[in-house]
């Protein structure tokens, strides 16, 4: 059955908004490195559910908004989102057959590649980090994924939003 368009959009916007709030929630500096990339995870989830409706232009705008809320150099988050969005759009048919833990590993790769881009942009602006610490958010995101996917699947079932083919 076709989902009711309005309710889908409201749900997507709301979840992205909540994820963006979680992304800027104040944490002590020691814990900040363990924060999962909530917005990126939510975007990955929705692109896998609604691949036909996802638009790169929207990802660009969302990324710009993230840049100003997070205080990153303009262009960093659009770059991350567009790259991850593209990988998701290319792979969604295959990933549907994955088990949760395989999905988690795949998400680890996606977020890690996004972090690599983010680290590159930050390094251009003169901020460096020792070792592979910048990949910790990817690990945190992968750990967070099964829970997030479970909760979102429930939400989706409740609002009767079907996967697009």
């Amino acid at each position: 059955m076709l989902p009711d368009r309005a309710s889908v959009y409201i749900l997507v916007v709301l979840t992205v908004f909540v994820a963006m709030l979680l992304d800027v929630y104040p944490l002590a500096l020691e814990y900040r490195i363990f924060r999962p990339q909530f917005t990126l995870l939510v975007v990955i989830y929705w692109v896998y559910i609604l691949p036909q409706s996802s638009s790169m232009a929207l990802l660009l705008l969302l990324g710009l908004l993230q840049d100003v809320t997070v205080g990153a150099p303009l262009g960093q988050h659009p770059l991350m989102l567009i790259m991850v969005g593209y990988l998701c759009l290319r792979s969604y048919r295959r990933v549907r057959h994955f088990a949760r833990w395989q999905e988690s590993l795949w998400v680890l790769l996606l977020v890690a590649s996004a972090q690599l881009l983010a680290y590159w942009v930050q390094a251009l602006h003169g901020r460096q980090m020792d070792g592979f610490e910048f990949l910790l958010p990817a690990v945190a995101s992968a750990c967070c994924w099964p829970l997030l996917a479970m909760v979102f699947d429930r939400l989706r079932r409740h609002y009767r939003i079907a996967r697009q083919v």
């Binding site: 992304d23 100003v68 809320t69 205080g71 262009g75 593209y86 602006h125 901020r127 460096q128």
Partner: protein, 273 residues
């Protein structure tokens, strides 16, 4: 459905290039600064909403407090006020004397700086950068480059201003450096941020320089950005290795970078020629 592949790749290339262009433009030019300033109004609600839990806990701390504790705090504040007033009495005489001496030296008078109290509404989620978000912006006269203080010392400077919010770069950010001098003997040096909230490093201080653990560093005003004479840090550790050209010195910032809630924005008084 099967024609979708190339279309997706094309869209990816198109928008990816736009994003890449944005990164490079914001890196090498300042064309995007006005865009950023306009967009920063969108960021404030996020910080205000994530600030709500803290506001609630602050409110409950204030509301559900026993009368005894309030009386105790009142007494503590009253005695503190007394101490500060005593210091101020001395200050008035010293300031007058200072003005007279400077007149004798034909130097310009040092004017008092104006301040504006601002409240912290958010911290940067990026572990690489030490920035804060304040609830005052260009509507209150805040401008880029303005120094920010807390009760104990210098905290940082404003790097981005929206109509009603401002972003502050802390002294401890790895990209920040400011000219300081040792309060005891006036030796000038530069204090750089290290990326850790409780230390600054002093660069290019030779092994023979007279600098000791416990020395107070104050802003020297040489960078034309920070007003002179505000406390910045206390020297915490000195390592003099004869094999190295310079001593390795770390200092602990005076300002409480991660605890302060209310900060002061300094408006420098116009210089009299």
């Amino acid at each position: 459905m099967f024609t979708k592949g190339p279309a997706v790749s094309f869209r990816f290339a198109f928008f990816g290039l736009i994003a890449l262009a944005l990164v490079l433009i914001s890196l090498y030019t300042d064309w995007l600064d006005p865009v950023r300033r306009e967009l920063s109004t969108l960021a404030k609600p996020f910080y205000q909403i994530t600030d709500v839990p803290r506001r609630i806990s602050d409110w409950s701390d204030e509301t559900f407090v026993s009368r005894g504790e309030l009386v105790q705090e009142k007494e503590r504040l009253a005695s503190e006020l007394l101490i500060h007033q005593r210091k101020l009495q001395q200050m008035a005489a010293l300031a007058a004397e200072n003005v007279r001496l400077r007149q004798l030296l034909n130097a310009t008078e040092i004017l008092e700086d104006d301040v504006l109290v601002a409240e912290l509404i958010g911290v940067s989620p990026n572990p690489l950068s030490h920035t804060l978000v304040l609830n005052r912006g260009s509507d209150d006269g805040v401008s880029v480059g303005q120094p920010v203080l807390d009760a104990k010392g210098l905290m940082g400077q404003v790097i981005e201003v929206g109509p009603d919010s401002a972003r502050v770069l802390l002294l401890t950010d790895p990209s920040h450096a400011l000219p300081v001098q040792v309060n005891r003997n006036g030796i000038r040096t530069i204090a750089e941020g290290t990326g850790s909230l409780d230390s600054l490093t002093l660069r290019h201080v030779s092994n023979t320089t007279d600098i000791r653990v416990g020395d107070l560093l104050v802003s020297s005003g040489l960078g034309q950005r920070f007003p002179a004479g505000y406390p910045v840090a206390v020297v915490e550790h000195i390592e003099r290795d004869p094999g190295q050209p310079f001593a390795q010195i770390t200092a602990r910032p005076m300002a409480q970078m991660d605890r302060t809630r209310n900060v002061l924005l300094v408006f420098e008084a116009p210089q009299v020629d």
